[in-house]
Symmetry: C2
Amino acid sequence: MSTLETTVGVSRRARSMPPSPIRKLAPLADAAKARGTRVYHLNIGQPDIETPACMRDRLKAIDDRVLEYSPSPGTPAFLNSLRRYYERRLGITLHDGEILATTGGSEAILFAFMACADAGDDVMVVEPFYANYRTFATMAGLNIVPVTSRGRDNFHLPSREVWERTLTPRTRIVILCNPNNPTGTVYTREELEMVASFCREHDLFLVSDEVYREFVYDCRRAISALELKNYEDVVIVVDSLSKRYSACGIRLGAFVTRNADVYEAALRMAQGRLSPPGLAQFIAVGAESLADDYTHAIVEEYERRRNVLYEGLTSIPGVFLEKPEGAFYCVARLPVENAEDFAVWLLTDYSRNGATVMLAPANGFYASPLGKNEVRIAYVLNVDDLRAAIEILRDGLATYAQRNIAAATNSDIDSV
Amino acid sequence: MSTLETTVGVSRRARSMPPSPIRKLAPLADAAKARGTRVYHLNIGQPDIETPACMRDRLKAIDDRVLEYSPSPGTPAFLNSLRRYYERRLGITLHDGEILATTGGSEAILFAFMACADAGDDVMVVEPFYANYRTFATMAGLNIVPVTSRGRDNFHLPSREVWERTLTPRTRIVILCNPNNPTGTVYTREELEMVASFCREHDLFLVSDEVYREFVYDCRRAISALELKNYEDVVIVVDSLSKRYSACGIRLGAFVTRNADVYEAALRMAQGRLSPPGLAQFIAVGAESLADDYTHAIVEEYERRRNVLYEGLTSIPGVFLEKPEGAFYCVARLPVENAEDFAVWLLTDYSRNGATVMLAPANGFYASPLGKNEVRIAYVLNVDDLRAAIEILRDGLATYAQRNIAAATNSDIDSV
């Protein structure tokens, strides 16, 4: 029987599972590459920084004859490595029963959603937001209630008044990404205290996604929600080694909470899936001892890229963004009506000296019908490629505007 | 604020998340070990068989300087390796869009539950069943509706009549583990056809968990649900490399379906969590080319263990089981009223020549209030250890019976 005759239907949940806005245009990029066009990827967050040698060397040191299950919460060696990291980096001592190794930050988000809310409940998210939150919310049966942050405020948080107004009777969770993907915003201690106090007052959990913790510029410091006093029972921190050590592929993260009930729920889910990835845990041990120089050098490199990007983009007529503060993304407003149409056009109809750029339209990062003329840009390319990509974008925008004028003129003629 | 003052409460889902029945008695085993008692683990399925050298060698060959994200569906190299395996092992050709690499079989189960049913729906499970199905069902908001299989039938499936009677209006999925964990049962083609036809008639999905496919004895062959003709749209196969290559720790599995809608839903979830484990995928490539001798030798070893276990257990007065057919588990009835009490007593109050055994009480593998006098036994120990463990169990049962008689006599005296 072919699938045309399918009678058995997928779930409503399956039908509402969102496609990835980041990968949406991938087939068009593939087609452009097949035509021989070079595509500069400004759409994805895969860093080109080397994974630390100490991690790669440990691969060669694995001599287990049986690659066994590791304990569900993670191996003692890896959990101790994480504890040393938090002690050293945040001055925070985590005990047994407060930290779980997870399969990337992704699994930690899923565990948090599942542990803190039931199907039909709401999760408040500052938009624009990391698009995959929507996938995990859909899996957990949660509705996304957006709190909008604005480019003119450099995407800092709206006032508490706005939060109070946005709250619904079924809100159970606030999720905050800090430093923020996609906006690059680094929230101040005051902003975090405001949100935590809002959570306390309304009996909500605060899920703080801090996977970009190391990436802050202009001498900023990312405040961890773990540092907030008197909110220990409210806070869950989602962490990941992916960006910190440029090791996205190993799929290793952490779930941190001082709320014993939340931990217990997450532990049971962890036991259900048996183990986090074992090879990854093994090679990650010791990475916490990398000298601060390691992080400084990487952050300096990203800061350089951020500067190149910011200067380049703001010199393009009609492009607007404030200076990104952290992570390696920004959301920029373009002088186009529909950024998705423009991103498609760049891949299908445009090239400059045999090259084009791929952008992620920002509408996929909003739950509200906003962001139509915005794109998310990742600055993970080296400085030379970034400069080249910006020049292509500058020319592309000019060409696209000309094309639109021409089209409008043609259509005027047509309508005569 | 301490957690005693916690006001913010976890979800109902979190509160109903089941603890692992396999790991439940672990603290007691740890205490026994701390007292110097040797504990033979008959409770867990961690094989002692070596991971193939070809996989371990590839660890040393990884020379990527950046451990990057892999594509969400899996790397082309690993997906091709899986395709070659299915081609060779089952004579089945899988195309693009029919197979996804997953983080262990666990993630494939979660994807299947999410894609095929909504919160509040029912999933039919043959009990006793792999206990972690309950965790994934709880995460997905599904209720488990048990179809009971009986030890006297060697846990083969009950008649279709029983299935029809058990069906509920909200049943969306049947999940079958074949070869079965915990019973070791290998279903016949007729049994599979019966269940598939039941699924077809009632518009249900058949999720076939085949992670023990290689482990069948007495010249049996495990039929894959992929081999059933005219059920392509109904079937989802959950697979894993954990047992096939004794590589439980790498967390690598597969989700296979010819239903395009189900695939699309699973793909979107896969995109949400970005990638399956990358190191695992890399080392797994090529394992499909292991000569048949590799599998034969391992299966022979397990068959030897199965024979030792079966002969040993059935020679103990009052112990009942039929000869297990596959996987490396069995469910045995013990001459005790409450197998959990007995399992606890073995760890807390008993030892023989400084050793005891750890059993998994079978009640945790049932949704009905059954299995109270049953245990699940894993035969992953080598033959010598297995023999020693059986003798301890024999002696333990005799001692326990004596103790009960003594206790009953004492209590008679007390009540005089």
